[in-house]
Symmetry: C2
Subunit: 145 residues, 2 copies
């Protein structure tokens, strides 16, 4: 059973077609997506779903710890599911929008060190590297959502 379904039951929330639809879509792959993009992908589906509902479901999933919200410098948010995915940081191509994940334990450690040296207890962090990937396959289309 989907982890999201479990969460809904736990919390006494209802299991609706829309919620299952969104969950299936999101957990079927590991992409970085936007609310708008998700809406588009579900548009042609038999079960219509509204933008408001998308946002409401995404909020629940973030609350549930199943989804992570990212700010990549655009004026809309990106999401990615984190089931079966270790924490990682991102490199974003400013040309084509391609997003590459990476993780460097040494950076993680140095961040922890920086925080504690300054008297902070870490609750989270966000490290985004912006650049150009010059990847033939993807970098031809600019400003993909």
């Amino acid at each position: 059973m989907l982890a999201f379904e479990e969460y809904l039951k736990e919390k006494g929330l209802k299991i609706t077609n829309q919620r299952l639809l969104v969950a299936q879509k999101i957990f079927s792959s590991h992409n970085h997506f936007t609310a708008e993009g998700l809406l588009d992908e579900l548009k042609d589906n038999k079960d219509r779903i509204s933008k408001a509902t998308i946002y409401r479901i995404l909020a629940i999933m973030v609350e549930a710890g199943l989804l992570e919200e990212h700010d990549f410098g655009k004026d809309y948010k990106y999401y990615e599911h984190i089931i079966g995915h270790e924490h990682h940081d991102h490199i974003i191509c400013m040309q084509c929008g391609r997003i590459v994940e990476f993780i460097d334990e040494r950076i993680e450690e140095l961040q922890n060190k920086a925080a504690s040296e300054n008297g902070f207890t870490i609750t989270g962090h966000s490290l985004n590297i912006f650049g150009n990937c010059l990847n033939f396959a993807t970098c031809e289309h600019k400003n993909k959502k």
Copy 2:
């Protein structure tokens, strides 16, 4: 003369009271501020300045490379001037909003390494650590802008 004034002349832009006022305010200290906050601080000034003008001036300063725009996870932007300030990253207290700057050359290097290993040319990066500072002096007021 203010660096901003030089920039304006260079570009053939006009030197107005509003522009000087904003520049003096911003460069008189090194704080992280918001457009709204800046407007408040300049409200009681003899020369009134409108919100639209604030935004327009901030955009010019960012373009001029005198100001940096930050996204700290709120729904409004933070700015800081970078004259005489080396690049640095930020630690933000989620309780009181206090912002501490730090720099770790090892992290910088590891970022460059991660980018090039993934075939990216770096154009910029943003590293924000979120946490709690538990600082008596500041951490009593929550959600400061």
